[in-house]
Symmetry: D2
Subunit: 359 residues, 4 copies
């Protein structure tokens, strides 16, 4: 169903901004894995708003509680219930918004689709929805790391038109990424990004960017042709995140401008396995991992809710002027880093188990 | 499962290049629809290789046979079996390839994943695999058109670095697209693309490109948050096609360089419904169609099999020189046009039925 | 996945006896439905142990909390999270059982399958697991009742060899069922059943029985051939309940002893619709509801955990004598009544929505 | 979807009696398995009508053709397309039936559900629909046998009120079953069953019966709590077969009359593993196989189509007299034997692969 993802490692998420809480049920987690709340909390903390001046000042504690599936610190192989309680559970203080759909926001489509919508607007289109996925993905990351040595690292490679210089995907680490507020590991670009975000914030506007992600040590053989190819599931996972507008793997759109003789990744012996000289393929061939790093990029548009006044229409089609009250997040791209990582982990763990089913 | 797609309109495809045939089972097609082979054949013919000098000279008839689910020209509501027989069913004449994995081809990963592979190489990674999807998607298109008036049109917007000028997504039609061999509706760009493909063919090389697709008259409300958002399923469907490396919806990667105040699509009354002034969103808000045209772009890399000599390694890691024999398709992008259209139709019909389930 | 059920109304359950709690996520509940905790609590209360001398004296409050998907008393169309906290969250006091698998209990198979098991034994095979289903099914019942007038009533038709006389499936109501402690609506049989259960309890033994269920006002057309036929999904739902060993619809096993000319349900006009004179079919033809009451029976074995001493073997194969400590439930059949009803509701609502998807 | 079954070994069936053919796509078959048409044909031949005087005289060749997924006699790990062409592809000679729904047949419900139905009546409710499942299940049986030594044997344990004496489930073999026309391995009972069927045939009537099935050498650990318990999936698979009305595992309904102290299967060392003294559980504990033989029984009602005159109503509710023309199958129970076996194999293989996914 639409709030579930995965075949053998299945996540079902739930929750709106103003209900009791948000969370997930993870079905298919292997038994006997050491797991506690702290394993999950790290990525939730990286996802949390209010970490710096660059983001929304709302302070959300976002403490995860494991409801089931773990006993004495070990997973039982049964579904793991995860719950993060909302601090602010009072719906109803979004006033004007009940009459006026925010431009480029899901207020309008939720109302049209369901005939009702949460007081906070688009309910499940809220950024808070990702909490369940991040929590579930943090568990996936742990298994991938412990069982296969898989390392997943994302970083901000662009904010607006400021692009980070090339980063070595074999070397980049999460501490390097977290060293700057913008999560861009190139210090000079990071500094310029930070300035830009502050400008945009000052102007009560918002700005988008690009997150790049590398998954290292993915074994050869993950991915299920034809509809569940590795890149197809990554694309689904990424485009299901709020505010995403694009996905590229390997050479991406730039690869369309190359000749086959340039683009082909020639094989070469790498230790005991066959590797490739270049990696335009981004670690996949025919939808299956080939042993090279899986590399992809995700486009995030500027968030829709801005303080700047906009001329739009209310649900009746009457012209209105709209300006969001309160402080809004001028740039979600740095916070998207752990979201992209955990979303990738959910894809990989499921394909890993499906390949493992081959015995 | 990995060869099935869809929840209520489910397609299960089968077939390799050198078996008896390729095809699909469509489960969930509404009953009482007029349907015959000719309805399906049109898109299969557009997909077929050998339509012009620009593509591979192999002549494949690719006649579809309806095996079940239709009686007296009407669908029964039961599964529709579809079969296209292969002309060349002799495996075994790919000689050298059994020892040498083609660079950037699925030979290697299929062998590693399954411990065996079809004589033709990557079996299901072959372009022939798309026949089942195109046939199923042609049925989906018919329902979408007849029941909701949905029009899906794709065209080639770039080959290599030759980009077509902007095309009006509200006006473009399939006859306009098919007017040129490259399926680029801008004649001057089409001419240059054609020249480029012939050059590349002469050089025994290959070249990639971009297909743009518009879906018009999609009603508001299609798309199932959170994992089956409209753009998420489109991204999965497109990235599951052979040779694709990227997907963008609406503003895509370019949108990351915009401010929220520029990117937001302001609402305005359009007849009896609420529309938007711009369409950076590409017809979706929060994963749900908003009544504006759904517009997306798909990146196709240059195909891997080329006649030019390449230095690569065999399965043992020994250096080899490899040059594919016979004639190969220098550019699959024009043929990808009906493939993208029908893949989009499979996404839309499923989400349409899921919305219809709400009563 | 294995803890999820349904295609369009999907329930995902979680929870063991000794974790934080048990519950479910319901994905696909229609929007705009009035819903509050009290709507769900009624069936949870009927399911609860400790309602009478006939059952286990453990007092479990089992209060449900709605975590999401409902705002201002109305469903949002988004996933509904449901949580029932466990009172006793301390694992580890099952002592001997860690060494000795209880006969006919899931201790053994959980240990073998997962390499670990919950302290309480078979974890998810516990009767507490059904709480999530009952809560979700209570929501399903409400929709079925309000939208289609569907009435689902179960009762105890046998305990041990004491069988209730025939009950009129068109008239039987829940208050009639709940009028006796054994939930058998025939007072004389109920009295004898009660005596039998008390005898069995006194002997520290357990006893099984049969629950019969009728679903009235099911419209013609529900059921999805061929694998999701109405009776097939009912059978799966019932055999997935703890302690069940059999399922019959309509004439069931007795029908195998009839001739076709006796068994066939002849058609006859019933008001504006076509009905049948008899109902050996149990309300289904070819897997699809035919407008007659859906009637089925479920066999419950005597529960495995008994106080009586049993000669068995420990995990090492050493002979042991085993007698469960504390008080145990001598007969779960009366408590199974709401469990069967809500399990049936989960089947019906999903098939209803799937039929509704046909528009 | 409703014509698909299985999570990792997924079968999608298609076909009506009067279309081009019936068949299936098997997705998830392991690679490298030796497979040819003959492996599948054996069970199709056992299922085929016209094998003796006891069944319908229609001669159906039912030759299977493998369309894909196999090359040089080995499976590729890709979907296996299977097709059995119909001999009689002319719809339209069912005359009267277009106006009169056959009692206890799916004519009525198909018409009501889909607004149309196949000329042959209930289309997918036809016995021919099982061909696809039997073909797919024959592949499953082969894998189960070769990889785990699983042996699945079914037999007719009752026809009408003639019950076969107890059969040793550890010893019974298919040759023993096939030694009599009624597929009852007890010769005296078989003789009486044969007589009864001929009487019923003479009377242009039909009769039901019971098929018992044993699955030997099923390893401990197959079955996925809670909704995909082994017995739950078996129940679904069996109740999705045409003409089935009941399912029992182990002690079944008889078990409801036992005390826990009688019913509990005490553990005992069996070689290196833990076994049980009795097998009232039927080889499952908590939904997971426990290493003992899996034993279950399936109730088949008398088939609906009979030559005897019946008083019924047409679609308009007008009284009519109806007598099916031509010869009809008086008893499908013997032919159900391979159908039950292969249906069980589809359940087991899927749960086997899901357990194997645990690594």
């Amino acid at each position: 169903m639409s709030s579930s993802f995965g075949t053998l490692f299945q996540v079902s998420t739930f929750g709106e901004s103003h209900g009791v809480g948000v969370g997930a049920v993870v079905d298919g987690c292997p038994a006997g894995l050491q797991l506690c709340e702290a394993d999950i909390q790290t990525q939730l903390d990286r996802r949390r708003p209010g970490q710096s001046d660059l983001t929304t000042p709302r302070q959300e504690a976002d403490r995860v509680e494991i409801l089931s599936g773990v006993e004495n610190g070990l997973t039982l192989g049964t579904p793991i219930g995860l719950l993060v309680r909302n601090k602010d559970q009072r719906p109803g203080d979004y006033g004007e918004m009940s009459r006026v759909p925010r431009p480029s926001h899901a207020d309008y489509t939720y109302q049209m689709k369901y005939g009702i919508r949460a007081a906070s607007g688009g309910g499940r289109s809220s950024a808070r929805e990702t909490i369940g996925r991040v929590a579930a993905g943090a568990i996936a990351e742990k298994i991938l790391r412990e069982k296969w040595g898989v390392e997943i690292v994302s970083w901000v490679s662009a904010i607006g038109d400021i692009e980070a210089p090339e980063v070595d995907p074999l070397e980049i680490s999460r501490p390097q990424v977290d060293a700057t507020l913008t999560r861009c590991p190139a210090p000079e670009a990071a500094r310029r990004m930070e300035e830009r975000v502050l400008e945009v914030k000052e102007a009560q506007d918002s700005i988008g960017g690009v997150v790049t992600c590398v998954c290292r040590n993915v074994p050869t053989g993950w991915g299920e042709p034809v509809f569940d190819k590795l890149e197809a599931k990554l694309a689904q996972a990424m485009l299901s995140l709020p505010a995403t507008k694009g996905f590229e793997i390997g050479s991406g759109f730039a690869g369309t401008r190359m000749l086959g003789s340039q683009h082909n990744d020639l094989f070469v012996r790498k230790g005991t396995r066959l590797g490739t000289v270049s990696n335009h393929s981004g670690g996949v061939l025919g939808g299956i991992s080939n042993g090279e790093p899986v590399i992809f990029r995700v486009a995030f548009k500027p968030v829709a809710t801005i303080g700047k006044t906009q001329k739009s229409a209310d649900f009746e089609g009457q012209e209105v002027e709209l300006a969001a009250k309160g402080r809004h997040d001028p740039c979600v791209v740095p916070r998207a880093v752990p979201i992209v990582e955990t979303a990738a982990a959910l894809v990989l763990i499921d394909l890993a188990l499906r390949q493992q089913a081959r015995g």
